[in-house]
């Protein structure tokens, strides 16, 4: 049993309070605490499970090669259970009681929206991969950084593919009613219009709604040539694909990465319903002519060596967790654990290559992902958690 597991129990909670009160000087070998807020259970947990594999693997790799200037990383995991309420409690615990030097996560926008202002209030640096644009605001949250694309970039990639590559003009945009889903539609519809496309249908639908046929019929009646769904809910996405298949409606589906997840595939009525489906992905984690880029290929080999499962996750999730932990470790190594020093270091990260993507941050830009690395892929080409680039790239 390791320290983290003990901390989950109540006895250690009291022990931790005692040490907190005593506030001993940090010894040279004292672990550096990093708070981590994945959703490991609940409806939006598949991302969290994938990223946790990469994160834990990175922590093990860093610690086995000497840690941070001799100090090991102690990853304190608090499952947010896809519930903002739990995320708020966990932020208080990680920042105040555990005195974590840095927070990695939350990984879902719903929880990040609640957690970010609280982390900012406590003056702890934070890295998260959530796409909602509002989550990065240098004035409101000066210590918060994003190691992933924004919604605008992700939608821009999909819109670019629909309008410029597939040359389709009449678009149906649909999302579930989560924060992520609604925010996406609200952002993308004007973007599509600005690119000259005609949005003939846009709506938010409860993800639990069993019957999406009326929605798809309204799309078809409106003359849609392509469906763009925005949701992280595999059940919802699979129902769109199943309904499209059952209606015999042969339009492409272009949208969220979860379209290509193993969970979505498992819920399809027929395997061929996965044809003509293109999901977001990231250039570094896609096969071009059957080959992954060198860094990703090496990473996959490493993952296979560590017996990390690929059946139910995506390469980019694992890679994102891995990259995040290394960026954090590099900052702590170079700048120490003082919050402002870490932030200053982050703001000088420039074109740092990663397995997942290239990150650059500056003093007034805490979004760090390159537009050019956001691509679309063919979901029916899933192999080892990665996909072929969509035709046209």
């Amino acid at each position: 049993m390791n320290r983290r597991q003990i901390l989950a129990g109540s006895a250690a909670g009291i022990a931790a309070m005692a040490t907190g009160l005593a506030a001993p000087a940090l010894a040279q070998s004292e672990p550096i605490k990093i708070g981590y807020l994945p959703a490991l259970t609940g409806p939006s947990s598949s991302t969290g499970i994938g990223m946790t594999r990469g994160t834990e693997l990175a922590v093990a790799a860093i610690n086995s090669s000497g840690g941070i200037n001799g100090r090991p990383i102690e990853l304190i995991i608090r499952d947010t259970q896809s519930d903002p309420t739990k995320a708020v409690n966990a932020v208080a615990e990680l920042t105040q009681r555990q005195r974590a030097s840095l927070i990695w996560g939350p990984l879902n926008s719903g929880e990040a929206l609640a957690a970010t202002p609280l982390v900012a209030r406590n003056g702890v640096p934070m890295v998260h991969p959530c796409w909602v644009d509002e989550l990065i605001d240098v004035k409101k949250y000066p210590m918060s950084f994003r190691n992933a694309p924004t919604n605008t970039q992700v939608g821009g990639g999909a819109n670019h593919y629909v309008v410029d590559v597939l040359k389709l003009k009449k678009v149906a945009v649909i999302s579930d009613t989560t924060g992520y889903g609604t925010a996406s539609v609200n952002t993308y519809v004007p973007m599509l219009r600005a690119k000259g496309a005609e949005v003939v249908y846009s709506n938010h639908v409860d993800a639990a709604n069993p019957d999406l046929r009326p929605e798809l019929m309204r799309m078809r009646a409106a003359g849609a040539e392509v469906i763009m769904p925005w949701s992280v809910n595999a059940g919802f996405l699979s129902r769109i694909l199943n309904t499209r298949g059952a209606m015999g409606w042969d339009v492409p589906v272009v949208g969220q990465t979860t379209l290509g997840s193993g969970q979505t595939r498992a819920l399809l009525e027929k395997p061929e319903f996965w044809n003509r489906v293109y999901s977001n992905n990231f250039r570094n984690c896609c096969y071009a002519n059957g080959q992954l880029p060198a860094s990703a290929a090496e990473f996959v080999t490493r993952l296979k060596g560590a017996r990390v499962e690929f059946n139910d996750t995506l390469l980019w999730w694992v890679a994102n967790g891995w990259d995040a932990m290394f960026i954090i470790a590099e900052a702590l190594k170079a700048a120490g654990t003082k919050a402002q020093d870490v932030v200053n270091h982050f703001q000088r990260v420039n074109r740092r290559p990663g397995v997942f993507g290239t990150i650059s941050w500056t003093a007034d830009q805490h979004n760090g992902f390159l537009d050019s690395e956001v691509v679309m892929c063919e979901v029916n080409s899933l192999r080892d958690g990665a996909f072929n680039l969509a035709p046209g790239y």
């Binding site: 499952d79 409690n89 615990e93 009681r97 929206l113 202002p117 609280l118 406590n122 924060g179």
Partner: protein, 590 residues
């Protein structure tokens, strides 16, 4: 006699609160913000649960989905403070507005409960929970839809952190104080009476709709205020923060705590808020565990935590207790009687479909007399009593009091006419004391308004003193004063019969309708009951006695009416009835 006992009881009930308050006040000294957040959450949840407790624990309304009030309060406060829709409001004013919105919707959702059966109301709250979340998702221009909206930040003196902690603590204390005041008032007792013995409550003049509307207002307002605080604690609210699981948590916390208690549900709320933080591996199963706990509580300890903490009711009661009525006290109990009144039934008929339950009877009941009503089973005795009490609308005939017509089908209005009654099966509230059961009967005499009770203003305190004294006196008159503080469900059957009479006496009745009061009593007890009834009538009360015990009837009645198949078979003095041939052959069997 009761001065020492009552101050001791007060100390016993306030001790746990003092301990909780002390812990809450000392907590900031540890300066552990994590514990602070959990405590703030517990306070906020309790503010909602305190109001909900009156609804669920006291009134017995199955409000499974009360989270919409939290949602409404949270969005109202957040949106008004953010200034996206209106001018930017002061956060404290916005919090008050959240309370108002909660109160309004509390009543709207409560309306069906005034007329509908329990389960319908449960379904209404369930449906409303879903709708509220969906509206919050859809109404993007105001709520921000699924993206949500930032919560309010309270300015000085309750800034985020420990300042906000004190605000939550303060409001939780106020909510506790107010709901405890209501709970201990005649309104609280009336709610419990509606829950466990609705018929007896109606007979005591308790009007369910009016009372429930007040409780819905209060519970909604507290839910709304809790919502405003919740929005601030969360710092950012999205519709998915207001889950159905949360609703279940509040509801179950109250039932685990114990119905009709304030302390129990408060402890229940604290435990259920804090438990998931310390038992992380169990979190996945938490709903299952709560539900299992609920099932256990319902089946095994319906009294919940409060019953487990109720040590005074574990002491064994003396065996072989005797009920020794003191008729000499009746004058004080009944007060100065007005001139004897008269109730007349003329040609009353009542048909159920094709069955003529009552088929044209004439009865007059006069003050100062005991009027016996006898007859075989199904002859219409209890039905006649129910017509007088206003439960049935007669198909034909008139009912008049001193010559004025009496409205049909209006049981709660009977008490105002000083018509009191007891029931064939005693209607009691099992988990409150005998004294409180009896005080129900005096509900109509309280003068303090609901708000006065809420704030324990002087008139409310005077009411309580008067009612308590009157209740003790009534219990002494029927011979149960030694059992005043005992939980009613621990009484023997015969004692319950006398308790019902004491409750009826609290109304200072002009008419007293007794439905088989001697059933299940020993011969000696019947003799004492007879003397008591006789003494009551001698104070000017008109007594209508439905009985099977012929001896008792002939002993104490001034006038006897014999019913058979819904018709009057014979009427007259006991002596005349005794010699009535048909009666003797048909009924007395001698």
């Amino acid at each position: 006699m009761s001065g020492v006992a009552s101050s001791q009881r007060k100390l016993m009930t306030s001790l746990p609160w003092l301990a909780l308050g002390l812990v809450a006040l000392l907590l900031p000294l540890f300066d552990d913000a994590y514990v602070g957040v959990i405590a703030q959450r517990a306070f906020i949840y309790w503010i909602l649960s305190a109001g909900l407790n009156l609804l669920v624990g006291f009134a017995g309304q199955i409000a499974i989905g009360w989270v919409p009030m939290l949602t409404l309060g949270a969005y109202t406060t957040a949106v008004l403070t953010a200034g996206t829709v209106t001018e930017e409001w002061n956060a404290y004013l916005a919090l008050a507005a959240g309370g108002v919105v909660g109160a309004v919707f509390g009543v709207i959702i409560g309306l069906p409960a005034l007329r509908l059966r329990t389960f319908y109301f449960a379904m209404t709250t369930l449906g409303f929970t879903t709708i509220t979340t969906q509206v919050a998702l859809a109404w993007k221009s105001v709520t921000g839809g699924g993206v949500g909206t930032p919560g309010p930040v309270f300015p000085w003196p309750f800034e985020p952190g420990w300042g906000f902690y004190y605000l939550c603590l303060l409001l939780a204390a106020v909510a506790t104080w107010m709901t405890a005041n209501v709970g201990a008032s005649r309104f609280g007792r009336a709610l419990i009476a509606l829950r466990d013995a609705e018929v007896a409550a109606e007979a005591s003049g308790i009007a369910k709709p009016r009372l429930l509307v007040l409780i819905f207002l209060l519970a909604g307002a507290l839910g709304g205020v809790a919502g405003g605080l919740f929005a601030s604690l969360q710092s950012y609210i999205t519709p998915d923060a207001f889950s159905f699981e949360m609703s279940v948590l509040f509801f179950i916390a109250i039932l685990i705590g114990g119905r009709g208690s304030i302390l129990g549900p408060a402890l229940g709320t604290i435990i259920l808020t804090a438990l998931p933080e310390f038992a992380a591996p169990l979190v996945q199963w938490s709903t299952f565990l709560y539900a299992a706990l609920l099932l256990l509580i319902v089946l095994i300890i319906p009294g919940g935590i409060a019953a487990l903490l109720d040590f005074s009711n574990r002491r064994p009661l003396p065996q072989h207790r005797e009920i020794l009525p003191q008729p000499s006290l009746l004058r004080a109990v009944l007060g100065r009687q007005q001139a004897p009144q008269q109730l007349d039934l003329r040609g009353i008929e009542l048909h159920f479909g094709g069955v003529r339950a009552i088929d044209g009877i004439d009865v007059s009941i006069k003050g100062g007399e005991v009027h016996g009503l006898i007859g075989p089973n199904g002859s219409g005795k209890t039905t006649t009593l129910n017509v007088i009490s206003g439960y049935y609308r007669p198909t034909a005939g008139t009912l008049s009091l001193d010559g004025g017509a009496l409205a049909a089908e209006a049981p709660p209005l009977r008490a105002a006419h000083r018509i009191a009654r007891t029931f064939q099966t005693p209607r009691l509230i099992g988990d409150v004391s005998v004294l409180e059961n009896v005080m129900i009967g005096g509900t109509l005499d309280g003068r303090a308004s609901f708000v006065e009770s809420l704030l324990t203003l002087p008139r409310h305190r005077a009411d309580e003193v008067t009612l308590r004294a009157a209740g003790l006196q009534a219990l002494a008159a029927v011979g149960l004063d030694a059992l005043a503080e005992v939980r009613a469900d621990r009484l023997q059957h015969s004692e319950l019969r006398f308790m019902e009479i004491a409750r009826a006496l609290m109304l200072r009745p002009a008419f007293l309708l007794l439905d088989e009061p001697a059933a299940g009593l020993s011969a000696e007890e019947i003799r004492r009951l007879g003397a008591l009834i006789k003494a009551i009538s001698r104070e000017g009360v008109a007594v209508l006695l439905v009985e099977h015990h012929a001896d008792l009837i002939f002993d104490i009645c001034d006038h006897v009416t014999v019913l058979n198949l819904g018709k009057v078979l014979a009427a007259g003095t006991p002596a005349e009835i005794r010699s009535h041939r048909e009666v003797v052959s048909a009924y007395l069997g001698a």
